[in-house]
């Protein structure tokens, strides 16, 4: 059924496949070959993306044994337990705060870096490399380094602050500071990738636009507002979406820096899922939480497309 429908759509694009008129294609048609080329992807997607998606959905309605196999159907019970658990509410709150702390900051900083690094200067390649370097640094390595930086006694951060007379902040163990500290690490970690993409976006802007603006005597800020940002908006749009999704999926920093603590201050959603599933073996509730995460990300993407696209200038 579905195939039939798309076939008509295809007709507009590639009439050569119009089967009715194609004795040629019926004989040595390209379909068998196509499926051969797509088979590896299809099998892998089926096994590792689509099947698990439905399985997770199923699990979220069941109690399960320690091997992760569903046992008793409990309807929405897992969801009810989840939504009424203070731990989940705390973790949802932390996650939202975390997104709020990290995403705008990362993008604004990366944009500033990209604008600076887009100047045509001698040796600019060196600075670009430095600015993008955190992309090559793994979550584990950077977390360990920041763990050291945040160390209350030996870490450089408190050493520096003590010069200013501020002492004794327990960055990762203080519920007031822990999420901030994790956010700082994350911003630093994501800056490289975001910078790289934004720089690419800036370099794709047609030089002539600037030349023309220069001839007309427009100032730097005017050019930034009227040319750069509008022309960059597709890239910004992409970067915002990717950063938000990334933030929702944060795990490594938490595992290495705080283990979700103190209290549940940094128990971000994926870490909370990990604990439920692989520490407490409560696969049912973990799956319910996964589905909630999935819906959140879907919603973000949908909202981005609905509202983001209108403001975006596409070339």
């Amino acid at each position: 059924m579905v195939m039939e429908q798309t076939e008509i759509k295809e007709g507009a694009d590639f009439p050569a496949t119009n089967a009715r008129e194609q004795p040629i294609n019926r004989l040595f048609g390209t379909q068998p070959a196509a499926w051969l080329y797509l088979l590896p992807s299809l099998i892998l997607f089926a096994v590792f993306v689509f099947y698990p998606l439905f399985r997770t959905l199923q699990l979220s309605f069941f109690l399960s044994d320690s091997k992760g196999l569903p046992t008793v159907f409990v309807g929405f019970n897992n969801y009810a337990r989840l939504l009424s658990s203070p731990e989940f509410l705390a973790s949802a709150g932390s996650t939202l705060l975390f997104v709020l702390y990290t995403v705008p900051t990362t993008i604004i900083l990366a944009l500033i870096l990209a604008l600076l690094a887009n100047e045509k200067l001698k040796g600019i390649g060196f600075f670009r490399t430095i600015f993008s370097s955190s992309m090559g640094i793994s979550v584990a390595a950077s977390s360990v380094v920041w763990l050291f930086i945040f160390n209350p006694s030996a870490g450089i951060l408190n050493r520096l602050l003590s010069l200013l007379g501020v002492t004794g902040i327990n960055w990762l163990a203080d519920p007031n500071w822990a999420l901030f500290s994790v956010s700082l690490t994350t911003i630093w970690l994501h800056l490289g990738f975001t910078f790289l993409i934004l720089l690419g976006g800036l370099q794709n802007i047609d030089e002539h636009l600037y030349e023309n603006a220069q001839i007309e005597g427009c100032g730097y800020w005017y050019r930034l507002r009227r040319i750069t940002l509008p022309m960059l908006s597709p890239t910004l749009f992409f970067v915002i979406t990717v950063s938000m999704i990334d933030a929702f999926q944060t795990f490594g920093q938490i595992d290495l820096l705080t283990k979700g603590g103190p209290g549940n201050a940094t128990n971000l959603i994926v870490y909370s899922i990990y604990q439920k599933a692989f520490i407490n073996f409560d696969f049912g509730m973990a799956s319910a939480e996964v589905i909630v995460l999935f819906l959140c990300i879907l919603l973000i993407t949908a909202l981005q497309f609905k509202f983001g696209e209108r403001k975006v200038h596409y070339q």
């Binding site: 080329y37 993008s132 999935f294």
Partner: protein, 270 residues
């Protein structure tokens, strides 16, 4: 006037570079400090203490982890290039029924966060006996919607006439794919390769779940292991290990930075 602008620009760039690279410089410096010196809170080691590196290799099988990470990242990189290269080829050069629908299906997998499938995938990998196997660490990542999308964007720039010319001279799809499409798209393959290598090298959660054994464990989890072993403030050793983890990817990134930037922007926006 122009000079002042230039000097201030360089100053700003330098300061920003120092701030951004500070954590790594600090780690580098600490990796050469003895435990006492670390506790004193020096920024520069007063006495070079390279033993930390030897210590790191002694504490955990760091070489083994390094080897595992390289193998895993290479396998995933080539797996992704082959699998998504083939899919992208089908989407561009094979006109089959339901092509558009299938492409939407592919793209939609980008919207499904990987965590969604984490629990069942763990069970699947367990059933396949792939826990503590390279297979379990690599095969689930072979199919890449992003990779397919990126390569498709590039393949689409190859004129249809090239395939037609090949058809007329009796060259089949496979030969055309291998001898024309892949060589012509070398740059985008390199981009995707670098990207995949970096992300695989840096994966954390999945190897944490599927390796309980030091024989296949990658560096990232090795680092976690080392960090949890080094309880008493031997930060120098941990920093040394962190640098060992970081150096290979930084090299890859420094070499491929230009490629990556161009390729990713094109892939994201065209």
């Amino acid at each position: 006037m122009k000079r002042i602008k230039l000097i201030s620009l360089y100053t700003v760039l330098t300061i920003l570079s120092l701030i951004l690279f500070f954590p790594m410089l600090y780690a580098l410096s600490a990796s050469f400090m003895s435990a006492q010196e670390v506790l004193l809170g020096h920024f520069f080691p007063h006495q070079l203490h390279p033993e930390n590196y030897l210590e790191a290799f002694r504490d955990v099988p760091l070489l083994r982890f390094l080897f595992n990470s390289i193998i895993i990242s290479l396998i995933v990189t080539f797996g992704v290039l082959i699998v998504s290269g083939m899919a992208a080829y089908a989407f561009v050069f094979l006109h089959f029924r339901g092509r558009r629908l299938l492409f939407i299906l592919f793209i939609s997998t980008m919207m499904i966060p990987w965590e969604t499938s984490m629990i069942p995938n763990f069970v699947t990998v367990q059933h396949l006996g792939w826990i503590n196997r390279y297979a379990g660490l690599t095969v689930p990542f072979f199919a890449s919607a992003f990779g397919t999308f990126l390569l498709r964007q590039y393949f689409k720039t190859i004129p249809e006439e090239m395939w037609e010319a090949a058809q007329i001279s009796g060259i089949g799809h496979f030969r055309f794919f291998v001898k024309v499409v892949l060589p012509v798209s070398r740059t985008s393959l390199v981009t995707l390769g670098i990207y995949t290598f970096l992300t695989t090298w840096n994966t954390y959660l999945w190897p944490l779940l599927t390796t309980t054994d030091e024989r296949v464990r990658p560096l990232q989890i090795g680092l976690r292991q080392l960090q949890s072993q080094e309880t008493v403030n031997d930060w120098g050793v941990v920093m040394a290990a962190a640098l060992i983890v970081v150096v290979p990817t930084l090299i890859v990134l420094f070499i491929g930075q230009k490629h990556l930037q161009q390729g990713l922007t094109d892939g994201a926006l065209k």
